[in-house]
Amino acid sequence: MNRISTTNSARQKAFVAFLYALFISLAIISSALLVSVTGGDWRAVLPALINGSLLKPGRWGQTLTEAAPLLLVALGAIFTTRMNLVNIGQEGQLLIGAACAAMIATRGSGPFVMVFAILVGGFAGGFWAAIAGVLKYWRKVPVVVSTLLMVFISTQLTGFLLTKKSLLLDPSGDRPNKTQTSAQLTSSTRLPYIHIFGNQFSLAVPISLIAAFAVLFVLKKTILGFRLSVVGSNARVAQRFGLSERTAGILALLVGGAFAGFAGSLMFTAGAANFRYTSGFANNIGWEGLLVALVSRNQPLAAVIIALIFAGLRTGSSFLASTGVQREIVDVIRSLLVLALLMPPAYLFLRENLKKNSVEGDSK
């Protein structure tokens, strides 16, 4: 886990902090350069992002609400990665989860229907991801490839569900602008909102926080978490101990996909698209949640912070229009930040390794 096994001297820590600061400021400077080279005003970007994500009325509640599904997706990815499997199809798993939840929740009303729909959405996402696990252990298809291809299949599949009134399309016909959407959730089936200090955020926020601690606990303190990491790091050793790689792998994908599915169904019941399921529902939450997991280097608590930052970039980007800078700059900033945060640990690891090798060389 901890690749940097060095002496914890203050100097070392300062050096690490310096590296992070260096790379993050490099990322920010190059984003600013990009904006000004393309004729935008880079000074306007940061205030717009901060206003949109924090300062303007109701915005930090919105940011928290956006952070919840990001965090859930990231937690699922962290869980799967523990098994050394690379699931990158969260966007599709989220769509499947949301669509299944919508199919159930729009047909009934009341909190029980809502809870049931959320659970079904979660399991649907899990089973969708488990297909990739079955394909891996039965047909040796790399999980990276199969999960990615399934994103596009799930987009089309949920698009198909939206064409049939018997499945997901709003049967009443009073759809806004004749777009293809599902029926709207009745107010008794919606996820409750919490109101604090003039802001509101959905119940999904505390749920996802609890989930972060739960994942931390399961991975660090339970037999299941230990099994996953043993099987993931060395399948042969695991086999000697009687741990099945196949079962653990499919389980890890199932749980990871279920987190994405839950993210989708919670987004739907919290009203991400005005309580309707629409074709662009996932809105990149799956991809960005995956990035959260990658950047947080598979630490659930770090994922909480990164999810908040990424959510801030999302909500802040809606305020960029007034500055005349395209929203896509946020994608650029985000991926540069990702690279910046990945760089220092890799550099330290390399340096350690070089040092170790040269010491071994000297002793010969």
């Binding site: 990276v144 990615l148 596009f152 896509e328 650029v332």
Partner: protein, 317 residues
């Protein structure tokens, strides 16, 4: 009974004998092949390079912008290759010098390059035209296939030297032998004095060159674009990876895989134009479903490079 069989077979025969169908099949297959042939070289060295997608996007956008501004298609192709090489140098140095997980780097690059292309598109808005066609005299007149194989815009024929060069360097040079050794057993290769990570970086540069060229060919010889959109590349880099897996990490198989996936892309596009309608969601999912199905059928029968997707650090086993 006979008429029933005939009416059922007619659509199939029409599709099979449609010249348009084969033309679009070759078009898709060629773009896939640019990425897949390079990807094959990288995978034989042990990199499952998912940033092939980013390289295609980079090549397509840069190629389109340069060709639009300078008016020279050849210049666009060269700059597309350079863009692919730039993406590749990030991937190569981060994953085979700094040992950051190659999927993490690749995924980030895919998002980054797409975001950058869409961001810059608002300013540059490249408009491209399809390059002039080269008809091989006589051969282009062959019914059904002739126009598809011998009557394409000239940049598409660049796939021939790319394939030949890839085959030669990978299977007929010392460099290629070392690349394959690095992909099978990096520890042993290291002991024999091969610089493992250098070879791996070089193969990533190679896939950058071919994929960048492929992206540029896509916008300069196939789709005339008016502003770059995400759908232009639309995951062809990932399908190319599927083609390599389908081909069992052989050059012959990879090219065959590109043709098969090209056929499904062509089906999706050509069916309405021949006059058949199928469910639009099904046809949209068809290439990806086909890639998944075909990979599932063939992946288990082939042997992948033993060190595929495993980073090499001296001293770790």
């Amino acid at each position: 009974m006979a008429s029933l069989a005939a009416s059922g077979l007619t659509p199939i025969l029409n599709v099979l004998s449609s010249a348009t169908m084969y033309q679009s099949m070759i078009r898709f297959a060629v773009v896939l092949a640019f990425a897949a042939v390079g990807e094959l070289v990288a995978e034989r060295a042990g990199t499952l390079n998912i940033s092939a997608e980013a390289m295609l996007i980079g090549g397509a956008f840069t190629g389109a912008v340069v060709a639009d501004r300078t008016g020279h298609i050849a210049f666009g192709l060269i700059c597309g290759m350079i863009a692919g090489l730039v993406v590749a140098s990030v991937q190569a140095n981060l994953s085979h010098r700094l040992t950051i997980d190659q999927f993490v780097v690749g995924l980030t690059l895919n998002i980054f390059v797409l975001g950058l292309a869409l961001f810059l598109d608002a300013r540059f808005r490249p408009v491209t035209d399809v390059a002039s066609k080269w008809r091989v005299p006589g051969l282009a007149k062959i019914p059904i296939f002739g126009e598809a194989i011998f009557g394409q815009p000239w940049p598409m024929y660049l796939i021939v030297p790319v394939v030949v060069v890839s085959w030669f360097v990978l299977f007929r040079t010392r460099w290629g032998l070392e690349v394959r050794a690095v992909g099978e057993n990096p520890q042993s290769a290291d002991v024999t004095g091969i610089h493992v990570n250098l070879r791996r970086r070089q193969t990533v540069y190679f896939v950058g060159l071919t994929s960048g060229l492929g992206g540029a060919v896509l916008v300069l010889a196939q789709i005339p674009i008016n502003g770059f959109e995400a759908g232009h590349v639309g995951l062809k880099g990932i399908i190319a990876i599927s083609a390599v897996i389908f081909g069992g990490w052989t050059l012959r198989g990879t090219i065959f895989g590109c043709l098969i996936f090209g056929y499904f892309f062509a089906l999706q596009q050509a069916l309405p134009s021949i006059g058949y309608t199928i469910n639009s969601q099904l046809s949209g999912a068809l290439p990806y479903l086909a890639a998944l199905a075909v990979t599932s059928i063939f992946a288990a029968h082939t042997r992948q490079p033993r060190a595929l997707a495993q980073p090499f650090v001296r001293g770790l086993t």
